[in-house]
Amino acid sequence: MDNIRDLLGDLVRTEGINTAVVVSRDGFVIEGVSTGNVDTEAVGAVVASGIGAAEVMGRELMTGEMTQGMLEYKNGVIVMSTLGMDAILAVVADLSAKLGSVRYQVKKSMPKLLDVL
């Protein structure tokens, strides 16, 4: 069985993905892999508060439980997915990434990550 680091390593080998991090719901990094200069520890805190805010929004607007969120910026994309009740997968991709491919790779990795968490 792969470990979390191997699975995140597979994700960052996808074209355009430069960072993949699994964080606990309180924002502490469980494991992170980055091919660039991204401080994965810092990613943890902002991802947890970001997804927490998105969940509050979903609750207020009665759209059900959050499963995935995607934020598009001028220079890249962040995809955040809830990993069960206790963790979050966050992937950072640059503009060269194909969004469909990023989302497919994220979706493919989720059950494997849940298995090893």
Partner: protein, 205 residues
């Protein structure tokens, strides 16, 4: 107007800020933020070495350790177990309750989150039942992180949070850390009869 009616805006602002954090980003994220605040504060404090355990205990008695500076005087019960007579957040809590007749919404959720097993609470040997309010998510990791910066005769020290008591008198025990530290539940319960917080310091061999 009596002194009790005076609103301390710093206290109220702080408690309301925690409430706002809970409302805007949820209890797990709020718990993480409170812990990160504590760890960032501890990072700013210099490490200290005490030549012997006696020197350390004298410093505790004189309220001169980095830990005393954040929580006031602690009482050495014996065998490295300490009782804290007053919670450092007691005044904030009392002031808020005097004015608003209760605590802000959502605080219980953060307390429950703090007591759940987590990477950082395990690393710092806090929570796990010893949390009785969101303030424990600041106080306990801060103390443990400061403890990591204390050496005795060059040897590292580790702090275990054993229990805590709420302003209402409810005791929270960290069974996991009580077992791991080798102290008894009876001792911790007894310490909490007369103190608000109970922890132990061990010197690593």
């Amino acid at each position: 107007m009596s002194k009790e009616d005076v609103l301390d805006i710093a206290h109220v602002g702080f408690l309301e800020m925690i409430k706002a954090l809970i409302g805007q980003s949820g209890a797990p994220s709020t718990k993480g933020t409170l812990i990160r605040i504590a760890l960032a504060a501890a990072d700013k404090v210099d490490n200290v070495d005490y030549p012997s355990i006696e020197d350390f205990l004298t410093a505790v008695e004189n309220v001169e350790t980095n830990i005393s500076r954040i929580e006031g005087p602690a009482v050495h019960i014996g065998d490295g177990v300490f009782g804290l007579p007053k919670c450092p957040f007691a005044d904030s809590i009392a002031n808020y309750k005097d004015v608003f007749k209760g605590m802000p919404e959502g605080f219980a959720e953060v307390t429950n989150e703090f007591n759940r097993e987590g990477i950082v609470t395990d690393k710092f040997r806090v929570g796990s039942g010893a949390g009785v309010s969101p303030f424990c998510a600041i106080h306990q990791p801060l103390r443990s992180a400061l403890g990591n910066g204390i050496t005795i005769g060059g040897k590292k020290t580790v702090i275990y949070q054993l229990g805590c008591k709420s302003a209402g008198g409810a005791k929270g025990l960290a069974q996991k850390w009580i077992n791991e530290s080798g102290h008894s539940e009876e001792l911790v319960t007894k310490v909490l009869d007369d103190h608000m917080c109970c922890y132990c310091i061990k010197v690593e061999e």
